[in-house]
């Protein structure tokens, strides 16, 4: 009964000129999203050093979904040298991500241009 999570990978260039990989999510972010999200994340080349997570097309996120994002941040931090940033959250989920502390480990921007400008 969860809407399947779709993950699409694309690339962009940051204001600094660095190449950026964007993982764009669509559908729900819940416990059932784990495989789709972690597989996409694990599929990124080892050379990818900047990753943007795009939540523009997501309208339901629950705490199990946030746990998956924390898992990604933790893996990135363990691997070293990879930065993850977030954009496209609604103001509500921006607040929720801040409440649980995700904002401490991933910068959060309203939209893609703003996110690219900060990387």
């Amino acid at each position: 009964m969860q809407a399947a999570t779709k993950v699409t990978e694309r690339t962009a260039t940051a204001a600094s000129g660095s190449p950026i990989t964007i993982l764009a999510f669509a559908g729900d972010i819940a416990s059932t999203s784990k495989d789709a999200m972690m597989e996409a994340y694990h599929g990124l080349g080892a050379s990818v050093s900047k990753v943007l997570l795009d939540f523009t097309a997501v309208d339901y996120i629950n705490s199990s979904g946030i746990a998956i994002i924390i898992q990604m941040l933790l893996e990135a931090s363990r691997a070293g040298g990879r930065t993850i940033a977030i954009f496209g959250l609604t103001p509500h989920f921006n607040k929720v991500f801040t409440m649980v502390g995700v904002a401490k480990y991933a910068s959060m921007s309203p939209d893609e241009p703003t996110a690219l400008a900060t990387l």
Binding site: M1, Q2, T32, S63, M99, G101
Partner: protein
């Protein structure tokens, strides 16, 4: 709207159905005049309460259902989410992102924290089967604060 009007919803113990409860609650709160912001907060709180009832209370059993009772008074909306488990016996620690990021804490375990942070009152009661519940309240006088 008559003060004391109640709406009740029964859901199967299947993940995903929390979204049905969230829609029902959002609709009630909107009718009562809560702002869009507070309705969003309520949606997350109700979803988390239902997920816990489905997962922890009813352990995903296909013979048990989750009840949601929404009661209105002039100035507040009270929502009880009831399940067939033995209820919450101890409140977990607040999530600690640093411990999570060091692998010292499960990445999960944020539901009850969010519920408490997003509504005006949240209390957990242990009861006989079918009667354990969490009670959430949002108050209209907290609008615009």
């Amino acid at each position: 709207m008559r003060s004391g009007s109640n709406v009740e919803v029964c859901l199967p113990s299947e993940l995903g159905f929390e979204k049905v409860a969230l829609s029902t609650a959002a609709s009630m709160a909107t009718l009562m005049g809560f702002s869009a912001d507070r309705v969003e907060d309520l949606k997350t709180a109700v979803a988390e309460a239902c997920i816990n009832a489905i997962e922890h209370g009813n352990r995903l059993s296909d013979t048990l259902s989750v009840s949601i009772v929404l009661s209105t008074t002039d100035d507040q909306l009270e929502i009880k989410v009831l399940d067939h488990g033995s209820g919450v016996s101890k409140h977990p620690e607040s999530p600690d992102i640093d411990r999570k990021m060091h692998g010292d804490e499960d990445p999960r375990g944020m539901g009850m924290f969010l519920i408490q942070a997003l509504v005006d009152e949240a209390e957990w009661y242990q009861g006989p089967p079918g009667k354990s519940f969490v009670r959430l309240v949002i108050r209209l006088d907290k609008e615009n604060k």
